[in-house]
Symmetry: C2
Subunit: 246 residues, 2 copies
């Protein structure tokens, strides 16, 4: 392992939808799952705030079954927290001191589905603006191919995940082989370059942002777009997300 | 029908891969198939040069079977013309006077596969930089939803199709309802705004462009990126592409 492999042959790729992940060979790649609004942002906040583990589950029914095992359960569909659950998908939920030391079972519209789509990866890690620099440092230190997987909105391309992919790619680019970069990497970097001066303003024209506006979560969005508030690297170990400890 | 419906409720969407077309309701939409390098560019050149019809066929075997029926046959895989065929995928092939008045059966790596993926559309039309303004005028004159379908490279996102989608979307945007626009439309318009001052230079970093460089088709690429050299609107009628005649 090295942190300065400028001539590395590692591949860096971006995938704009979980429905396209089959186009990438992820068996030897670290897959960074990205769901900026809001699953992977909330996951980073949770670990920065002392959560012990998070089990991503695909279905609402499955998440609820964890309640009797002592887990806090979180569930969101179409941007709204579901009745009967302890937690929704707002990062502020995960700042509550009650989560410290706890295990959480979580299902969301897009984020946990993307984690499921990446199940054959060499390793799965969680990315958001909240852990941007920690994540990039960690990825550069690994000697592995990297795929940045945007969760999108119900498998469609979205801008918020794409610009985070661009932000990560911008930092990783010097450490990876350029001629193996896919067009999606270049597209994401370009879009991030436009968005960077005003992430909030850039996303105001995004359909997902508009969809979330009706839920009055402007503060959530602003929080989720703030780099490095939760400097952790959540990694998947045996189907459970935990905080990476060096 | 109107050419100035600024308050139209028509939806404008962009799809970055034929593998994602199931996410769009195309039953009531005109689907613009885009394969800038080079299938849809060559199709525009063909019609501007007097070709009577083009049958897009998915398999190489099927295209060859048309030869005995008097068709010229064209086939390309991975950027190269196949032995035994009359035409490849270079737009210059279709400038040859021998194509005038002829029927052509064509199969290519990405373009004809995208046409097949759009088979359930209300209507299929062909887009490239070569027919940019004619296409946009025609689309604005129709009272229909529009989906811009990028062929990509073997179902992966590519930049050249995306920037053409952005160029079309830029012209169509005032005539469509903004709040129904998908994020991919916005992403494509942004990427086109970066590419616009120097399309060739912008694509120099694209993997597909690099892939084609080994085939020494720089002149093809330059030609395919020149707006309005072939001011035609190829439309699909009963499974056959013909030139739209008002």
């Amino acid at each position: 392992m090295s942190t300065n492999k400028a001539t590395s042959s590692r591949a860096l790729e971006v995938c704009f939808s979980p429905a396209l992940i089959h186009l990438h060979d992820i068996s030897d790649a670290i897959v960074v799952v990205i769901d900026v609004l809001r699953a992977t942002s909330s996951i980073c906040v949770a670990f920065a705030n002392g959560v012990r583990s998070i089990v991503p589950v695909a279905s609402i029914e499955e998440s609820y079954s964890y309640k009797s095992k002592g887990f806090l359960v979180g569930a969101e569909r179409d941007g709204e927290m579901l009745a009967g659950y302890d937690l929704g998908n707002s990062p502020f939920s995960y700042l509550d001191p009650i989560v410290k030391g706890r295990d959480i079972a979580l299902t969301t519209t897009n984020g946990t589905q993307a984690i499921a789509a990446a199940k054959d990866a060499y390793q799965i890690v969680i990315g958001s603006f909240l852990n941007l620099d920690s994540l990039c440092e960690w990825l550069i230190a690994q000697d592995k191919n990297v795929l940045l997987l945007c969760s999108g909105w119900k498998n469609s391309f979205n801008l918020e995940d794409t610009i985070l992919a661009g932000a990560v790619a911008e930092q990783l680019e010097p450490h990876f082989t350029l001629n193996r970069m896919c067009d999606a990497v270049i597209g994401a970097i370009h879009l991030y370059s436009i968005a960077k001066p005003d992430l909030n303003g850039f996303l105001e024209r995004s359909s997902h942002r508009k969809r979330l506006e009706r839920l009055q979560i402007d503060k959530d969005v602003e929080y989720c777009l703030t780099p490095n508030l939760a400097p952790v690297v959540p990694v998947m170990v045996d189907g459970v997300l935990v905080k990476f400890v060096a």
